[in-house]
């Protein structure tokens, strides 16, 4: 392993955060499916921007956390902040066939990206 590799691994600490609305009162299965949509979509965004980092995150075990916000306004606020920070993001709108109104934004994912960059945006949110 060269110096470059060591430095990259040391600095890598990649994760993905998925931020979910609690006011929609979605059931366990519904939330899981929405979070998985967001997770894959943001992963594909990240892969387009930086394939090496995205692959590294996969190899390292795809560290993920699910966080919560209380309503759509908060969801969009954090989404916009993450987008403005240049992080890979993806927001999910539900087709609305079950449980909730069609087109409702249910959650969004940030990353995989640097843990510290993600924490700057959503570090104070509570775990879902």
């Amino acid at each position: 392993m060269g110096i470059l590799d060591s430095a990259r691994i040391k600095n890598s600490d990649l994760k993905q955060a998925i931020v979910v609305r609690t006011d929609l009162e979605m059931g366990k299965g519904k939330v899981a499916v929405q979070v998985a949509h967001a997770s894959i979509s943001a992963y594909l965004e990240a892969e387009s921007a930086d394939r090496d980092a995205a692959e590294k995150w996969i190899e390292e075990g795809m560290k993920k956390i699910a966080l919560k916000v209380k309503d759509e306004k908060e969801l969009f606020m954090y989404f916009q902040q993450a987008k403005d920070a240049g992080l890979p993001v993806s927001i999910i709108r539900d087709a609305g066939l079950t449980q909730i109104e069609s087109g409702s934004a249910t959650c969004f994912a940030i990353g995989p990206a640097s843990s510290s960059e993600i924490d700057k945006i959503v570090g104070k949110l509570k775990l879902l």
Copy 2:
């Protein structure tokens, strides 16, 4: 659109099913993260086997369902059947840092693959 394209689209009906243990009594956030792990892993398996089908599933909106089984024995039984049928599958074992015993299998995903092929294996399971 040519005849080939029409035929492919007509036959495409792709989905992914994620099968989750309920006996671990995981919280909503924990389940969501485990399901997202399984979803991405099985997607990457599917992509290696048939890139066109995997991309088609993404373009069509990543249809997913979350299903439930009562324990690890059932989980492995359905996982093995899906594997034996040659479907892309991925099973998730938890690192066990929170909530449950380290190394526990929590869920697995099948597909994206043909809906009817998936239903042959897990079509009778209930939604999570």
